[in-house]
Structures are given as structure tokens and as C-alpha cells.
């Protein structure tokens, strides 16, 4: 084997440190060759090894009665009764999307979809949680357009509806945008597939797109050692082909109907290297690969390039010995390459051969055991200073304020985005994107699932612990507001450089917040992804722990039918009237404007959250709710408006709810405060709702009644048509100007 020259430079390029290199030589009992060094570098990368985060992630609650499979597999699985299970996960594609927004986002969607169908599930929904910088900047518009087109292109072509997500703008993301994609699938419980390789001599097969030079790890490397021919380096961002992925998905789902598969895994980050290694490691066996058998897109690829390529739309499958021909028939039908590239062995080693010579020989179990894990030093984030005394506007400014708030790209309608996504294909989208969680039916059953992603950046920035508690709680409220029972979460932890004590502190506190809230709500974390180093020139993003949540509706028909709104329907607030304005959009957009400190996020009372949530679910069960929304960004009025506008209604607010006798402060806090734990409902039967509230000691206030043509708040009348026009056009104006 070749000796390595210029070790220091090589380690630098491979992002390995001296200690890690010594570990490698200890495991191998010799120096690695270039291919082996490359393999270690990707396997021990932060992205694949979770070396900075593992210590903390381990503490997350991951088990419950409904969890079939927690973190560690391609995606998590939960039981939804009968023979049905839901498979879901969220994953980031932040760095590539900044470099090449269209392909970065597209392959992000492609990757997460593979994670889902790998488990035996047919994907039924996609959600995207996006963060961009200042929308007024040209660069950000370019990134936004590219990312949305990329998601649209991939998801639409796959025929899987993109049903929800969120998109938030803040200059903290100017240099590092976030693209987190969540996918959800449905599988039969007795037809689930895992990645644990077993069965000595079982064939290892490669399926799907050919391997090319795209996405080769850290391919910024320019030194001659990596590319003897000094050929032009291809971009490090992978290129997606949703058509091929659609074929791969259909072929795999067809193969899964047979009994030929032992184990299956997609080739995601670190491509063939990680997938083959992980499969063997899980089965505690060895694996032998023949590099000559790998289908290549271009000639003259080195083993190094082949093993580290991140070309998309490729799968690795361990078949039962003897079933190769039958399997090939299926892949032939779908015009896909299938190649037997190796076998499972009992050597407990990963052996790679080329022309019958061993070119890499890595002990699997030992490498697993010795994977670096860091206890990064961290410090608790500082408490934010209290905000200065706020001077509230006079009470007759409500109309002006609503129009001003709806100018914010964060509060205005995002139709421009979601009308580019096919959100209806598969004919199961019961609640399309607009506000709150989406609802998607499980095909051919009465069951539906509610899906959401959430993270309030302002809250997390001002207090990562309570901010994350809020993210979990808000996701939970979104789910409950559709009538669904929250079941489990997936998370995407987006942070800056973990080697910075302050940032590690944000990460630690955020995970602690998640642990605390998930335990309180009995919500298991079943999958997730960590994206660190979202940082440019020493300036990191705001901590952004995105929570993806899934809930279940057992009988869809019972409350998604015949609950049409009428004029003069009664609207109620469930929960106390808001008495807090800090960290709100009102404060940010109307009062403080360019001020960075928005104060501490509002406090959160778990008991109240749980009590109010249960109350809402009970009302749904008894068909006492016509529609429901939780109160979040923008406060009561904005949440109310968003809930009613698509149904063609406005509202008239009761004099008992707000009035001129109140102080300006109380008045505005009630209307625009973002205090948590609250819901707005349009009741189906006023008396019954009141009775149940009284019995369960729930705070219930009548807000007012629905109105066909206007919004009347304290005698300020806003025409619905005018408001709707602004709400729907503001975002288009940002893009077009």
C-alpha cells in the first residue's frame, strides 16, 4: 500500500486532527493509505459521527409504547394502530443550499425521501423548514427562489405532496441559510426494513444511479495527491435526478413486497463508504466490496473517488443468497442498474478489492468503538437584558398596526412559496398549507396524520433552553389545533461552531430544553439530525432547533366534514388573555423596529399547556369545534385572521373582550401578545363548550363572532377584501421588487 506524503497537509484537507490520526494507526496497527484515510475522514466527520453532539443527544427520551424504531436507523418509526406505522425524519441541507440553492435543496429532499422508503414506507408528505436572511437583499431573493424551485422540482416529480413547513427571514441568516426537509411515510408494520446486514455470503447489491464524481467529500482539495490527473474538480454539491429516484423508489417498494431483502440502506452522506460500513457494523459482521463492479458514470474514477462520491439516487441492499436473478428482473423492469458488488463475510472487516488486490482493510467493530466523541466545553448563555419601558400606541391604531405587521415577510401569506409545491398529489391532503399543521390521510383508511415543523428563532436566540421548550410546545399546539393527538418528534439542530464555548452552550441548553419538554409531554424523539458549523467569518446563526412533529387523527370523517362556518358563529379564546409582549412580532415590527434585544421569551406553564390541549382534543372528539388555531406569531388577532381568511370570514370582537376602558398596554397585549398555551376556536355549540370548560376549569373567553365582509376591532373596521389583498400580495411584492 502506498505511503502517505505530506501528512500534515493531508490531515488538514481531510479535517482530521493528530489525535484522530493516531487513533486510526492504532486501530489499523499501521498507517492508513489514502483511501482508508478518506474513509475515516468521512466516517469521523461531524456530520456522520455526531462526535460533538452524541454525549447530549443520548439523553433525549426516545422510547415509548408506540415507538417501533428510535434514532440510529435511516428514520424513526411509530405505531399508529392496526398494521399501520408512520416513518419520519428531518434532515438539513444547509451548506450545499447556500452554494447552489436549486441542487442543494433538491438533493436535500431526495436524500430524506430515500431515508423513508428505505424503511419500507411509501413517502406521503414532505415539509420544509427554511431560514433566509434579509428578504430585501438580492442575494437572498436568489437563494429563496432557487431553494423553492429545487424543492418543487424534486418533490413534484416524485409525486409526493409538499404539505407544510415554515419559512422565516432574519438577517442573522444572511451568510448561512437553513434548508431542513422532513419526510413522512407509511408502512405496514409487518413489512418494515432495516439496515442490519446478516448472513455470511449474502450478496451486497448496488442499485440505482451510476456513481459519478459529484459530491466527493471535502472536494475543495486541490492537491495533486488526490487527483493524479489533475482533472477539473467537479462541484462539491451533488446533482439530483428526481426521475431516477422515482424509479428507484418504485423498484425498491416492489422488491419489498417479496422476501428477498435482508437489509437495505440508502447511500446518503459519505456515499458507499458510510452505508456499507454501517450495515456491517450493525450486523456485527464483515463486508467485502469489489470496486470493479460498481457502476460508474465516468471512466477513470479512482477508488478514493468511488468510495467517497455522494452521487444521488443510489441504494445498497443485502439480498438473500440465490435471489439475485429474481431481484434483477424487478430492476430491469424499471430500467435501473443493479450490480452485485460484494458479499457479507464473517471477517468483521471492511475489505475493498480492486483487480483482486486488497486496497482497504478496516476492522469494523474496533473502528465503531473508537469513533471519537468529544466533551466540548460550554458555557451557559447570558440572560438577556430587560427591555426598556415600552410606550404603547393609542388604541385607535389597530388597523394601521395590522397592516404594518402583515408587511413582515414572517407574518404575511407564503402562497408564493407553497403554490410552487404540488401539495395535492396522492389525493390525501385534507388540510393543505396555509396556517398551522397540515393534515394528510392514510390512504384507504379513516386515519389521518397531522404534520408540522416549528422553531421560533427569536425565542431561541434570546434563550435557547426556553426557546426550545417553546418550539416543542408550539409544534404540539399546531398538531392539537387540527384535532390530532401528538405522537412523536424529529429534530433538526442547526447551530454554529461547537468548538466555540458559547455556541456549544446554546446547543447544550437547547437539547436540555428538548429533553425537559419531551418528558413533560411524553413525546419520544424518534429521529433527528444535527447541523453544526453554520457559521461564516466567526459569526454563527441564531440557534435554530427545528422540531418536526406528527400527530394522529383516528377518525378523519368525524370532524373534517360538514362543519361549514356561518356568519355570527361564536369565537372563543381558550386560555388566559395575553399579558406579555416581549419577544413578539408587535414589539419587533411596531415598537422597537431596529432594536436587537426583544427581551426574554414569554414564560411557559406545562400544566396549562397540557390542560388546554386536552380540552381542545375533547371538544374535537365531541364535534364541538368548527375550526381552531393556536395563538403564535403575531398574537391573537393575526392568528384569528389567518384561521378565517381562507374560509372567507372576518370577525367582530366583543366589547367585553377588549374595550376603550382598558389601558393601552392591556389592550395591545391582549391583541398582539404572543403568550403561549392558547387556542382560538369557532364553537359548534356555545353552551356545551362553556359547560365543559367550566367543568374542566378552563379559562374560556368569548372573543366575538364571525362576520362575512369585515374585521371589526374596537370600532375600527377593516374590509376583508382589502386585508386579503395585502396579505396575499405582500410576499409577491418582496420577490418582484
Amino acid at each position: 500500500m502506498d505511503k502517505l506524503n505530506n501528512l500534515k497537509e493531508l490531515l488538514n484537507i481531510h479535517n482530521l486532527n493528530n489525535i484522530e490520526y493516531k487513533k486510526i494507526t492504532k486501530i489499523l496497527k499501521r498507517e492508513p493509505n489514502l483511501l482508508e484515510l478518506g474513509i475515516y475522514s468521512v466516517m469521523w466527520s461531524e456530520h456522520c459521527s455526531y462526535k460533538s453532539s452524541k454525549k447530549w443527544l443520548r439523553q433525549l427520551p426516545t422510547k415509548s409504547k408506540i415507538v417501533i424504531c428510535g434514532p440510529g436507523e435511516n428514520a424513526g418509526i411509530i405505531d399508529i394502530g392496526g398494521n399501520d406505522s408512520i416513518v419520519f425524519k428531518i434532515e438539513s441541507h444547509n451548506h450545499p443550499s447556500y452554494l447552489e440553492p436549486f441542487q442543494g435543496a433538491a438533493t436535500g429532499v431526495g436524500g430524506i425521501l430515500r431515508d423513508i422508503f428505505t424503511m419500507g414506507a411509501r413517502p406521503i408528505a414532505i415539509l420544509d423548514s427554511l431560514r433566509f436572511g434579509d428578504i430585501k437583499q438580492k442575494k437572498q431573493k436568489y437563494l429563496l427562489s432557487g431553494v423553492v424551485s429545487g424543492i418543487s422540482n424534486y418533490g413534484n416529480c416524485m409525486g409526493i405532496p409538499t404539505v407544510g413547513g415554515e419559512c422565516y427571514f432574519n438577517e442573522d441568516y444572511n451568510k448561512n441559510i437553513l434548508v431542513n426537509a422532513m419526510a413522512v411515510g407509511v408502512a405496514k408494520k409487518n413489512k418494515l426494513f432495516f439496515s442490519k446486514a446478516t448472513g455470511i455470503n449474502n450478496p451486497v447489491i448496488y442499485v440505482g444511479a451510476k456513481t459519478g464524481k459529484d459530491g466527493i467529500h471535502g472536494a475543495t482539495m486541490a492537491s495533486a495527491e488526490f487527483d493524479d490527473n489533475s482533472k477539473q474538480k467537479k462541484p462539491t454539491v451533488q446533482v439530483g435526478d428526481p426521475f431516477t429516484e422515482k424509479l428507484v423508489m418504485e423498484a425498491c417498494l416492489e422488491l419489498m413486497q417479496t422476501n428477498m431483502i435482508v437489509a437495505i440502506q440508502d447511500m446518503g452522506a459519505a456515499g458507499l463508504t458510510c452505508s456499507s460500513f454501517e450495515m456491517a457494523a450493525k450486523g456485527n459482521c464483515g463486508i467485502e466490496l469489489n470496486i470493479n463492479k460498481i457502476p460508474l458514470r465516468e471512466k477513470d474514477m479512482t477508488p478514493y473517488e468511488i468510495m467517497l462520491s455522494e452521487s444521488q439516487e443510489r441504494m445498497l441492499i443485502i439480498l438473500k443468497k440465490g435471489s439475485e436473478k429474481k431481484a434483477k428482473k424487478i430492476f430491469d423492469k424499471w430500467d435501473l442498474d443493479m450490480s452485485v458488488i460484494g458479499k457479507i463475510t464473517n471477517s468483521k472487516k471492511m475489505i475493498i478489492k480492486k483487480d483482486n488486490n486488497i486496497i482497504a482493510n478496516i476492522p469494523i467493530a474496533l473502528t465503531e468503538k473508537k469513533t471519537p466523541e468529544y466533551k466540548r466545553p460550554w458555557i451557559k448563555p447570558k440572560k438577556v437584558k430587560n427591555i426598556k419601558k415600552i410606550i404603547f400606541p393609542k388604541k385607535n391604531k389597530v388597523k394601521e398596526i395590522i397592516f404594518e405587521l402583515l408587511k413582515s415577510p414572517n407574518l404575511t401569506s407564503k402562497k408564493w412559496i407553497w403554490e410552487q409545491y404540488d401539495h395535492m398529489v396522492m389525493c390525501d391532503t385534507i388540510k393543505p398549507p396555509s396556517y398551522g399543521a397540515a393534515v394528510v390521510r392514510i390512504h384507504g383508511t379513516k386515519k389521518s396524520i397531522a404534520l408540522t415543523t416549528d422553531c421560533n428563532t427569536n425565542y431561541c436566540k434570546h434563550d435557547p433552553f426556553i426557546g426550545t421548550v417553546h418550539a416543542v410546545s408550539e409544534a404540539r399546539r399546531n398538531i392539537i389545533a387540527t384535532g390530532a393527538t401528538p405522537l412523536a418528534i424529529t429534530n433538526n439542530l442547526n447551530f454554529g461552531n461547537p468548538e466555540d464555548k458559547k455556541i456549544m452552550g446554546q446547543f447544550v441548553m437547547s437539547v436540555k430544553g428538548m429533553i425537559d419538554s419531551c418528558k413533560k409531554y411524553s413525546l419520544p424523539v424518534i429521529s433527528g439530525n444535527v447541523s453544526l458549523y453554520n457559521e461564516t467569518n466567526k459569526s454563527g446563526i441564531s440557534p435554530t432547533p427545528v422540531i418536526g412533529m406528527v400527530g394522529l387523527i383516528k377518525n378523519t370523517n368525524s370532524f373534517y366534514k360538514k362543519n361549514l362556518l356561518k356568519e355570527n358563529d361564536k369565537i372563543f379564546l381558550v386560555g388566559k388573555k395575553s399579558n406579555n409582549i416581549s419577544c413578539s412580532n408587535f414589539l419587533e415590527e411596531i415598537i422597537l423596529k431596529n432594536e436587537k434585544n426583544l427581551g426574554s421569551p414569554p414564560p411557559l406553564n406545562y400544566n396549562e399547556e397540557i390542560k388546554n390541549g386536552n380540552f381542545i382534543l375533547n371538544l374535537f372528539k365531541d364535534n364541538l369545534i368548527k375550526c381552531c388555531n393556536d395563538i403564535s406569531s403575531g398574537g391573537l388577532i393575526i392568528s384569528l385572521f389567518k384561521m378565517l381568511i381562507d374560509k372567507g370570514f372576518g370577525a367582530e370582537i366583543d366589547k367585553n373582550f377588549i374595550n376603550n376602558v382598558m389601558s393601552d398596554q392591556i389592550f395591545y397585549k391582549i391583541l398582539f401578545g404572543e403568550d403561549v398555551g392558547k387556542y382560538i376556536i369557532v364553537a359548534n355549540n356555545e353552551e356545551k363548550v362553556k359547560k365543559i370548560a367550566e367543568k374542566s376549569k378552563i379559562n374560556l373567553f368569548k372573543i366575538g363572532i364571525t362576520k362575512k365582509n369585515h374585521l371589526n376591532i374596537n370600532n375600527e373596521i377593516i374590509k376583508l377584501s382589502e386585508l386579503k389583498k395585502k396579505f396575499e400580495n405582500n410576499f409577491f411584492n418582496y420577490i418582484n421588487n
Partner: protein
């Protein structure tokens, strides 16, 4: 009644149409793989929406050269009813079974939303259960749905009442502002001269169930069932 849905590699509305037909009529259609050349007689063959062959080259272009299309052309001459929805419409124009072509939307973006259609001819196999000039609410979901044809063809389409559906406002005005993709004369669906081949961009299968937010598509399917039986 014998109905088949063609599955091209990349089709993705095949299951949706089968679902809608089953729900409305109780009948379960067959799927036909695009490589098939010999198959039994069908009263109706549907080319579903999706991205046949990834829509590489040009939408529907490769699909129109698929092995099954030769046979479908022959059957259409014999009078078999053929429907192309969305990508299926694109394949039908590429195959010259219908005149004109479908270009990229005027705004150069994929558009998925509910729009209003006016039924301009209800004297066809595909629209007889609608009233003349009825306004229906149906979703579209496409990137290349801008119908385009020559002036001569347009005149023929108009004279022969081949325009079945036009994009309109909620009260039936057919104006540019209610044209979601820039189609010539707001055209959303047409038939051939013989009256047995229909192509349309909107998706009636997506609005054939109250739970999905609308039932305006049901009469589309009912029209066809009635014509066949």
C-alpha cells in the same frame, strides 16, 4: 365498462385516478405498463399526470414515443375513448392526437392551486353531466400548461366546439386575469374533431371527494361512465 390507466415511468397520478374512479363508480381500473403492445379492448384509456420519463427533452415528448403509444393511436382511430390529464395532455399533443402544444407557464414557475373552469361544451362524452357554461372549481398542478396553437387551429377548435374547458373567474368571466398560465384563449381542455380524445390540464381526480375540499370533478367521471354504459 373497461377502463385502463397507462403507467409510464414517472407517472404519479395513476393511483389518484384509479382511486377516484373506484370511489365514484365502484369499478377498479387496470394499469397498463408503458412497454405493453398487446392488450385487451378497453372502452376508455387514461394517460395520467406526472413526469413521464422525467419530462426530459420536453414534457410528454419521450412519452409520446413510448411502446404503448403506437397501439393507443390505433385504438383512438377505432373510437376508443382516450383521456390525457396534465402530463397525459402533454403526451397527447406530442403524439399529435390533439392539436397545439403546452408551453411553460407564463410566470415560469410550477403552479399548484384551485382555479375556476367554465364548461364550454357539454355535448361530449366527457362533459355531458355538466350544465353548459357551468363554473367548476378544479385544481391545477403543472409547470408546462400554457396551451398554444396557431390561429388557424384556434379557429377550427372554436368552430367545431372542441374547446371544452376554459379558465375563468369565480363568476364566469373569461379574462386574462383569470388565466393562471397564459394559455391561448384561456384554454384548459380540448377534444379532437372526432370527439373521442380529450386532453386537459386541470385534475378532476383531485376534486372528487368532499374531504379533499371539493366534488366538482365527480360529474366529469360520471359523464364518461354514462357515455360508456
Amino acid at each position: 365498462m373497461k377502463v385502463a390507466i397507462v403507467v409510464f415511468p414517472g407517472s404519479n397520478c395513476d393511483r389518484d385516478i384509479a382511486w377516484a374512479i373506484k370511489k365514484i363508480s365502484g369499478y377498479k381500473p387496470d394499469y397498463l405498463w408503458h412497454k405493453e403492445k398487446n392488450f385487451r379492448n378497453y372502452d376508455l384509456i387514461i394517460l395520467p399526470g406526472g413526469f413521464s420519463y422525467g419530462d426530459y427533452l420536453r414534457c410528454g415528448a419521450i412519452g409520446s414515443h413510448s411502446p404503448i403509444m403506437n397501439e393507443i393511436k390505433k385504438r383512438s382511430q377505432k373510437g376508443t375513448k382516450i383521456i390525457g390529464i396534465c402530463n397525459g395532455f402533454q403526451i397527447l399533443t406530442e403524439s399529435k392526437l390533439l392539436p397545439g402544444s403546452l408551453l411553460q407557464n407564463e410566470n415560469l414557475k410550477f403552479i399548484c392551486k384551485k382555479i375556476f373552469l367554465k364548461v364550454k361544451n357539454n355535448n361530449t362524452f366527457f362533459s355531458k353531466k355538466y350544465k353548459l357554461n357551468e363554473i367548476i372549481n378544479v385544481p391545477i398542478a403543472h409547470m408546462e400548461g400554457r396551451y398554444y396553437c396557431s390561429k388557424k387551429t384556434l379557429k377550427e377548435l372554436e368552430n367545431n366546439k372542441q374547446i371544452i374547458f376554459q379558465y375563468c373567474s369565480n363568476n364566469g368571466n373569461i379574462k386574462d386575469t383569470d388565466n393562471p398560465n397564459g394559455s391561448t384563449r384561456n384554454i384548459a381542455g380540448i377534444i379532437n374533431l372526432k370527439g373521442n380524445v380529450l386532453g386537459m390540464m386541470p385534475h378532476p381526480e383531485r376534486c372528487s371527494e368532499e374531504l379533499l375540499g371539493g366534488e366538482n370533478g365527480i360529474n366529469f367521471f360520471k359523464s364518461i361512465f354514462e357515455s360508456i354504459n
